[in-house]
Amino acid sequence: MKEPVVSIKNICKAYQKGSETIPVIHDITFDIIDGDFLSLMGPSGSGKTTLLNLIAGIDKPDCGEIIVSGINITRLSESELSRWRAINVGFIFQFYNLIPVLTAFENVELPLLLSPLSKSQRREHVISALRVVDLLDRIDHKPKELSGGQQQRVAIARAIVTDPAIIVADEPTGDLDRKSATDVLNLMTRLNDEFGKTIIMVTHDMRAAKRAKTIKYLDKGYLNDSPANTDL
């Protein structure tokens, strides 16, 4: 039995909207084992992105604990959390979120700027990451000079360049055409299979979700192993 890389214990989260408190996550407990490819599905507003943000340390739960690779990230301060994210988490967003004034190389290099690596070591890492996503020929291109699929591959290279413990992806194929979406999903599957990366992906797309080893469903803030009736 593999060890869990992420342990989520009784977490809850609510947002304040004026005087109203809106609960988003209700008492969720589960583990994600090392090397898993987990897909989180559910209707809009079910709390998928919120749960992903909590696991990735970009939001904090109101109660409960999240332990990633033995570190209780709910107890980290903001600056500790920043450092932790830089080392342990790779991010893939729906709209790629590349910096438009930087080239593909520079975008991938960004997370490494916070590491103690030398310039030549950084270059080596960036080249390796861009080779994995098969974009070495677009190294000096800026995001607007790349297609949506290519931009998402640059974002994936940026996510893996620091060799993080987990990769979180929020609707990574949501803005892509069918072919580009397939390419991106193939790439993510490869990262999981060949490189053993733990991937947590939020998606609406059943075709994308089926690539995962594990699928979990969120409905109104509750986590289930099977979809709610409304989703069937």
Binding site: T49, T50, N53, A56, I58, D59, S79, S82, R83, W84, R85, A86, I87, F91, F93, Q94, F95, N97, I99, P100, V101, L102, E106, E109, L110, P111, L113, L114, R158, D170, E171
Partner: protein
Amino acid sequence: MTHLLILIYRNLFRHKLRTFLTILAVAVAILSFGILRTVIDVWYLGVEVASANRLVTRNAISLIFSLPVSYREKIMSVDGVKSVSYGNWFGGIYIDEKNFFPNFAIEPKGYLGLYPELVLNEKEKIDFFKDRKSAIVGEKLAKRFGWKIGDTVTLKGTIFQGNWDFTIRGIYKGRDKNTDETIFFFHWDYLNEMVKKTMPTYADQTGFFVIGIKDASRAGEISQNIDSIFKNSLAETITETEKAFNMGFVAMTEAIVVVIELVSYIVIFIIMAVSANTMAMTVRERSNEYAVFKTLGFRTIHLLGLIFGESFLITMSGCLLGIALSFPIADLFSASLSEFFPVFNISMQTILFDVVGGCLIALTAAVFPSIKAINTDIANGLRKLI
């Protein structure tokens, strides 16, 4: 650090027109600020260039009342006094009132001895001393009216009626760049000679004495000693340092200076608001990028570097452009308004004020957008795009 600078530099060109217009606005503001500060400097120039070793004695009632020229010998006898000269405001007009320039009747040898900053070659000096109907003029004034040595210039008297003819025997240059080169000097003897004929009761009178002292630290004591000599006389005196004497003139127009000073600060305040608006727009547009930076592990200090760096780069570009433009503009100003501003030089202090003003604008413009960028949590920042 290098990467941060590259990013700041590239961000500048994301909205070229906006960046260009902001730089231009800052340049115009800094230029206006610099010119207004220079106007204030020029206003106080007489005070600044005054020598600590010179005192001025005038009638205690008012400057418009004269003093007997015979006071010179008594003043000369006061301990600590090195030399004494005297002069009169003449108030003559050259052809038309709009051709205003200051003109004084002076006792030439003593006066030029007391003002070494008026540089005249030996021949011109001797020619001026020899010819009682001669005059010396500043280089700027001579250029303004195209006067040359040997020319005859006629001034129409306002206080001392009649047409007064003078032969130009010398054109002085300023030893320092702040020396006024727009003054017209002629012999007090010539004035007195004519006054004796036309207004005998005003003969042998002078408007002021200029006194050279050996030790500037004794100025107060010497001034008191001079005034005490003429206590209870028909023409009591007030003696003060040249700086205080000149300051008296500035004080009369202090309200104007205050208004100019106020306007110069308002200019800076307005441009602060303009720059702050630019930076606020910039930060609002990039809120999701800042969220991405935070997500990737970049900390507050990095975001502050990006925002303040861009603000500084834009503002200081405008500031440097404004400073560079202020020199030719000051020259234009000086050429077209030389009758009001005989010396119009941008001082180092004004440039320093410009730079400080630029830094202040950059800081203020970046403060509020930075606070907003830092306080926007990552989830909200990302949500703006997703």
